[in-house]
């Protein structure tokens, strides 16, 4: 695993040097778009629709569309100024009970591992949080944005989950057709409760599989075995081979031409004509 962030976890007067590792990975299969007739992966180009030209990197700018068709352009300096100092710090502010935080706020989770001298304070914080059953609310700056996060004990490590800002979670009142207090008959409610009790088990996620991916892998496997494989020619390699052949052919041709001229000169008495090719 490769660390994606390095910094320190500050807890009271203690600073724990830590590294962050992504806790999850997306296992969805990646498909590439190919040009069907030749099976080459297509390239994406940034094209200006007005100039009709490909746009080189140095001509790219980032603009904010403040009203339709009108942009404010910000340069890198201005982006940096807004981000402020990127302090590599996870600053613990409060300790709360995890049940107080609704899962809707959780964004992505990272594993924390102690770096260098951090082993002992890491173990201490882990033990204290386990004993109190509390989790830490902290702020972390990843890239340019400071976001809220929760640090908690997960198995035998500390894990950090970034959270959405409160105004990033949509208001439920905007949702249509939500029933209010309808009259519910006791009999119906009792049946529903029984059903839930009957289905209640300890939580095991392992029974869920990504059946879509499994099905796709099956198809891919069959195609590989049946040799119905789309193999892209390697254009660059082919081109170089092509050029090498052209080069060898032309070396040969030039050599032939020269030896013919030399032979012609040696065979016949020298004429008025002088060939530059054999002159040195």
């Amino acid at each position: 695993m490769r660390a994606m962030w390095k910094g320190s976890l500050s807890f009271g007067l203690v600073n724990i040097p830590v590294r962050l590792f992504a806790a999850t990975e997306n296992k969805g299969l990646k498909f590439r778009y190919l040009h069907l007739p030749c099976h080459s992966p297509v390239e994406y180009k940034r094209v200006c629709p007005v100039c009709g030209k490909e746009v080189p990197w140095e001509e790219l700018a980032r603009g904010f569309e403040y009203e339709k068709g009108a942009f404010v352009i910000l340069d890198e300096q201005e982006f940096k100024a807004a981000a402020g100092e990127s302090e590599h710090l996870i600053e613990i502010q409060d300790f709360v009970r995890i049940e107080e935080i609704d899962p809707v706020y959780f964004q992505s989770t990272y594993y924390l591992s102690p770096d260098g001298t951090g082993r002992k304070p890491y173990a201490l914080l882990r033990k204290a949080m386990e004993d109190t059953g509390k989790v830490a609310v902290a702020g972390i700056t990843i890239r340019t944005k400071k976001t809220p996060a929760v640090v908690r004990v997960y198995r035998d490590i500390l894990a950090l989950s970034t959270m959405f800002f409160p105004d990033e979670v949509r208001n439920t009142r905007e949702l249509p057709d939500i029933p209010g207090e309808e009259t519910i008959r006791d009999r119906e409610l009792e049946m529903a409760r029984d059903l839930i009790e009957n289905l209640a088990t300890p939580f095991v996620l392992e029974k869920f599989h990504d059946t879509y991916r499994e099905k796709l892998l099956e198809i891919i496997d069959a195609k590989i075995k049946g040799k119905k494989i789309a193999v892209a020619p390697s254009p660059e390699r082919e081109k170089v081979v092509d050029l090498l052949e052209a080069l060898q052919a032309s070396v040969e041709k030039v050599r032939e031409k020269k030896s013919k001229e030399t032979a012609a000169q040696e065979g016949k008495p020298p004429k008025e004509k002088v060939t530059t090719t054999s002159r040195r």
């Binding site: 009709g52 030209k53 490909e54 254009p235 660059e236 390699r237 081109k239 170089v240 092509d242 050029l243 090498l244 052209a246 080069l247 060898q248 052919a249 032309s250 070396v251 041709k253 030039v254 031409k257 008025e272 004509k273 002088v274 060939t275 530059t276 090719t277 002159r279």
Partner: protein, 294 residues
């Protein structure tokens, strides 16, 4: 992505073969290098032993190119060069006598090759007189052909045999191969005298006037190209223009064909033409003539 091309101990690092040098036309650096290699047997004799000035367009033909006389840093050590000692400074020029050098030039996005008119062995004595017919905007190619044909008639009357080629753009360049015994000044004077006769025959469409404002939209007959260090584009050299045209040697009778279009000779069409018509400029290297004494 880079790849290595190697023959006879000459290594060429090819870079960015997919770069479109003619953007939007699908003509990449790969196509340019391939063209240089395929045309090399015909083109090299015209470059051999001549100081070269090259024009590079690393960002493609729509971005400004630049002329390069000196050899760039990091060029392969096997490239042949030679020094010309001018009156003020010396210049180390590139020489090109093998397909490998042409391939390297292609990789440098060199879209125009300009050789000197004199060999490096006799740098003060040109190997040909050049008659450069460069029309201003708006003058039809038909008129340029007419001027070239009149020039041909005049030279023929003097018992001289000259050879025409397209400039690759809208002009025609006529080469009169000479024994390398005349100074640039002598060749210049002779060219000027011939051009004067052309101007007298076609006063409505040609001029020898040096001031652009006084030319009145006529075809300028420029004898001053016959000077040491001045260059014309080499035969078969591509030009950084739409469609990748090349400077194409012609037969005189082709100039009488009203449907002759110079832009039809391109890096794609010139090789089939070479196969069917042969190398029409080969005599320029051998048919060395003398300037007639009045």
């Amino acid at each position: 992505m880079t790849s290595l091309l190697e023959t006879r101990g000459k290594k060429i690092t090819l870079t960015n073969l997919k770069k479109e040098l003619w953007p939007g036309e699908g003509i990449t650096k790969y196509h340019l290098i391939k063209y240089y290699l395929e045309v090399s047997a015909f083109m090299l004799p015209h470059l051999e032993n001549r100081f070269l000035v090259i024009q590079r367009f690393p960002e493609g033909i729509h971005r400004p190119g630049f002329f390069q006389k000196n050899i760039p840093e990091g060029a392969p050590s096997w490239l042949k060069t030679a020094v010309f000692q001018g009156s003020e400074k010396e210049t180390r020029y590139l020489l090109c006598s093998d397909p490998e050098t042409l391939a390297w030039l292609g990789n440098q996005a060199c879209l125009e090759i300009h050789p000197w008119l004199s060999s490096r062995h006799t740098p003060e004595k040109p190997d040909y007189a050049v008659f450069d017919l460069d029309p201003p905007q708006g003058v039809s190619f038909r008129k340029v052909c007419l001027v070239a044909l009149v020039l041909h008639k005049i030279l023929k009357k003097k018992g001289l045999k000259a050879y025409p080629k397209t400039s690759g753009s809208r002009g025609i360049q006529v080469y009169l191969p000479l024994k390398p015994v005349y100074s640039y000044e002598q060749v210049r004077d002779f060219t000027a005298a011939v051009f004067k006769i052309v101007e007298n025959e076609l006063p409505d469409i040609t001029t020898t006037e040096r001031k652009v404002s006084m030319r009145g939209g006529k075809i300028y007959l420029d004898h001053l190209q016959n000077a040491r260090g001045k260059t014309l584009v080499a035969p078969y050299s591509p030009r950084p223009l739409k469609g990748a045209p090349v400077s194409a040697p012609l037969l005189w009778e082709e100039l009488t064909n009203p449907s002759l279009i110079p832009s039809s000779f391109t890096i794609h069409t010139i090789l089939p033409r070479l196969r069917s018509r042969g190398e029409l400029f080969a005599p320029v290297l051998h048919d060395r003539q003398e300037i007639p004494k009045k």
